[in-house]
C-alpha cells in the first residue's frame, strides 16, 4: 500500500499510539452517549438523543459550567496580575532574581492534590492558621470552607498559590527578551514608570500575555482535583465544577451513558469558548 518511506518510520509509531489510545475511546464515548448504559443495565442500546435532552434541562450541569467559568477566569486573571507584577519587580534586579526564582518555582512543581490536602488543614476554621492570620490583620474569622462564596475563594486561593509561579516564569522570560530601544526612547521622552509600563511594556508583552493566559485557561478549565480534596464540591454544590459533576454522574452513580453525553457537550463547549477567547484576545491586543 504505502511504499516504505523513512518519514513514516518517524511519525507513525507515535501517531498510531496516540490515535489508538485517544481516538478510539473518544469514538466509543460518542457511541455510549447515545445509550443508557448504567449500573442496572450495562450495554449499548440506542436511545437517540434522550441523554442530550435530559442534559438540556439539567440545571445542575449548567450551574456547574457557570461556576467553573467564574473560578477559572477569576483564578487565571489573579495569577496573571500577580505573576506579571512579581516579574516586573524582579526583572531588572540582579540580586533578587536568583533567590526568588527558586522559591517561586517550587509550588508549580509540587503535586497539586497533595498540596490541597495540606491547604485543607490550613483553611480549617478553628484549628488552622488561616483564621489566625486573618485575625492578626484585625478581621473577623472567615468561613473558608463552610459557606458557598468563601469556598470558591478558597479554591481560587489554592489555585493561585499553585500556578502563579507558572505565569511568573513565562512573563519573566518574556520581559527579559524585550528589546531595549523602546525603553531608551521612552526615557528620552521623559516618561515616568506608569506611562512607560502602559505605553511600552504592556503592549510589547501582549503576545506572551495572551499565550500564557490561554495555556492557563486550558488547564484551569479542567478544574477538578482541588475541588475534590478541598471541598468535595461543597458546601452543597457551591464549588461543583463541570468535571466534578460529570465524575459524580459517571463514576459514582455509574450512569455512564448520561455522563458520556455530558462530557462530550462539555468538551465541545470548552473548545468553542477557548477558540473564541483566543481570537478575541489576539484581535484586541496583538494586532500587527
Amino acid at each position: 500500500m504505502l511504499k516504505f518511506k523513512y518519514k513514516h518510520f518517524f511519525l507513525l509509531p507515535g501517531l498510531i499510539v496516540l490515535v489508538a489510545i485517544i481516538i478510539f475511546p473518544l469514538l466509543f464515548t460518542i457511541r455510549v452517549s447515545f445509550s443508557s448504559w448504567d449500573v442496572v443495565k450495562p450495554g449499548l442500546d440506542w436511545l437517540g438523543g434522550k441523554n442530550y435532552g435530559r442534559m438540556f434541562v439539567d440545571l445542575r450541569f449548567w450551574e456547574a459550567l457557570t461556576r467553573l467559568s467564574m473560578m477559572a477566569v477569576g483564578s487565571v486573571l489573579i495569577q496573571y496580575v500577580l505573576g506579571f507584577g512579581l516579574a516586573l519587580m524582579v526583572w531588572r534586579d540582579v540580586t533578587l532574581k536568583r533567590f526568588v526564582r527558586v522559591l517561586f518555582l517550587v509550588p508549580m512543581m509540587t503535586t497539586p492534590v497533595i498540596m490541597s490536602v495540606i491547604w485543607r488543614t490550613i483553611l480549617h476554621e478553628s484549628l488552622g492558621p488561616a483564621n489566625d492570620i486573618v485575625q492578626l490583620f484585625g478581621f473577623e474569622p472567615l468561613t473558608w470552607l463552610s459557606t458557598g462564596g468563601m469556598a470558591m475563594v478558597s479554591v481560587i486561593t489554592v489555585e493561585v498559590w499553585q500556578w502563579t509561579p507558572f505565569m511568573f516564569l513565562l512573563m519573566l522570560a518574556g520581559l527579559l527578551s524585550l528589546p531595549n530601544e523602546p525603553y531608551m526612547a521612552a526615557a528620552i521622552d521623559g516618561a515616568g514608570p506608569f506611562r512607560t509600563f502602559f505605553s511600552v511594556t504592556f503592549p510589547l508583552m501582549a503576545p506572551i500575555s495572551i499565550g500564557a493566559i490561554l495555556i492557563r485557561l486550558i488547564e484551569a478549565s479542567k478544574l477538578m482535583e482541588t475541588v475534590y480534596v478541598l471541598t468535595s464540591g461543597g458546601p452543597g454544590t457551591a464549588t461543583e465544577t463541570s468535571s466534578y459533576y460529570i465524575y459524580i454522574r459517571g463514576l459514582r452513580d455509574y450512569q455512564i451513558g448520561y455522563a458520556a453525553s455530558l462530557s462530550l457537550t462539555y468538551l465541545v463547549i470548552m473548545i468553542i469558548s477557548l477558540t473564541i477567547i483566543a481570537k478575541v484576545l489576539t484581535y484586541k491586543f496583538a494586532r500587527g
Binding site: Y6, K7, F9, F10, L11, G14, L15, V17, L18, I22, F24, P25, L26, F28, T29, V32, L82, G85, L86, V90, D93, L96, R98, V100, R101, V102, L103, L105, V106, P107, M109, T110, T111, V113, I114, V117, I118, R120, T121, I122, L127, G128, P129, N131, D132, W161, I218, E219, K222, M224, E225, S242, S243, Y247, G250, L251, I256, S263, Y266, I271
Partner: protein, 281 residues
C-alpha cells in the same frame, strides 16, 4: 521616592515568599504534633506551644495495620512515571523529528494539522477519557495494574513530549542532517548519530515536563486503580479523611513532595545556566 518604591518592592516580595512558604512550614510543624497540639486551636512553635513528637513520622515506617505504607506507592509512582516518560519521549521525539523535517500530506491534512492534533490533546478534560479508559482497561484486564496505568500515561505525556521537541527541532538547522546524509547516513542514521547528540537540551526539557506531569497526576490514577496498585497522590489523598490525624497526614504529604522540591532546585540551576534559552520559546 526611589527608596519607598524599593521598600514596597521588597515588602511585596516578602509577603509573597511567606505565602509560598506557608503550606510547607505549616505542614512541617504540624507533622511533629500530637492531639494536644491540634485540638485547642492552631499552634506554631514547638516546645513553646505544643510538645513535639515523632509520632507522625514513625507511622510512616511502621509496618502492619498500624502504619501508613508510603514506600509502595512511591515505588509504583516511580515505575509508572519513568516508564511512561521514557516511552513518550522516545515516540514523541521520533514523531517530532518527522514532523519537523518531512512533509506529510493526507488529502488536505498537512504537517501543521498533525502537530496541532498532538498538541490539542491537552485540551481534553480527563473526565472525557476516564470512562472509556476505564472500560478499555477492564476489557484488557489491566484495571488496577501498573501496566494499565503506563498505557494511559503514555497517551497523556506523548503530546507534551512531541510539543516540546517539534519546537526544538525546528530550531536545529537542517544543514546538519543534510551533511550527515551526504556523508553516507540514511535519514535514520542522520537522526541517531548527528541530530540526537545535539538535542540534549530539548530532550532534558521534554523529559522534565513528562516526569512532572506524570508524577503529579491524580485523576487517572484515582479512577483506574483500587487496591492492588496505588500511586502516591492517591495514597496521600486517601488519608484525607477525619480518621487520619493531622500529624501523619502532614508527614506523608511532606515526604511525597520532598523530591519535587529538590528537583525544583536543580531545574532552577539548569534554567539559569542558559541551556534552556534555545530549548523553550
Amino acid at each position: 521616592m526611589k527608596t519607598t518604591y524599593l521598600l514596597l518592592k521588597y515588602l511585596a516580595i516578602l509577603l509573597w515568599s511567606s505565602f509560598v512558604a506557608l503550606p510547607f512550614l505549616w505542614a512541617l510543624t504540624t507533622s511533629f504534633k500530637t492531639a494536644n497540639g491540634v485540638t485547642g486551636g492552631a499552634t506554631y512553635i514547638p516546645w513553646l506551644q505544643y510538645k513535639p513528637s515523632l509520632e507522625g513520622w514513625k507511622v510512616l515506617v511502621r509496618t502492619g495495620g498500624q502504619g501508613i505504607d508510603i514506600v509502595a506507592p512511591y515505588i509504583s509512582s516511580a515505575v509508572v512515571t519513568l516508564s511512561a516518560s521514557l516511552i513518550s519521549l522516545a515516540l514523541g521525539t521520533l514523531a517530532a523529528y518527522g514532523l519537523s523535517r518531512f512533509t506529510f500530506r493526507l488529502g488536505f491534512i498537512k504537517n501543521s494539522d498533525i502537530t496541532f492534533f498532538f498538541i490539542s490533546q491537552r485540551i481534553m478534560p480527563p473526565i472525557v477519557l476516564a470512562i472509556p479508559f476505564f472500560l478499555m482497561l477492564q476489557f484488557l484486564g489491566l484495571l488496577d495494574t501498573i501496566a494499565g496505568l503506563i498505557l494511559v500515561y503514555v497517551a497523556l505525556l506523548l503530546p507534551i513530549a512531541t510539543w516540546v521537541m517539534v519546537d526544538f527541532f525546528n530550531n536545529v538547522p537542517r544543514q546538519i542532517d543534510e551533511m550527515a546524509m551526504i556523508d553516507g547516513c540514511n535519514p535514520i542514521g542522520a537522526f541517531l548519530r548527528v541530530v540526537l547528540p545535539n538535542s540534549l537540551p530539548g530532550i532534558t526539557v521534554a523529559g522534565l515536563f513528562c516526569i512532572i506531569f506524570g508524577w503529579n497526576d491524580f485523576f487517572f490514577a484515582f479512577t483506574l486503580t483500587f487496591t492492588k496498585t496505588q500511586l502516591l497522590p492517591v495514597a496521600v489523598v486517601a488519608l484525607n479523611s477525619s480518621v487520619t490525624p493531622w500529624w501523619s497526614l502532614s508527614a506523608s504529604a511532606l515526604v511525597s513532595v520532598a523530591p519535587l522540591v529538590i528537583i525544583a532546585f536543580f531545574v532552577e540551576r539548569f534554567l539559569s545556566s542558559g541551556n534552556m534559552a534555545g530549548a523553550i520559546r
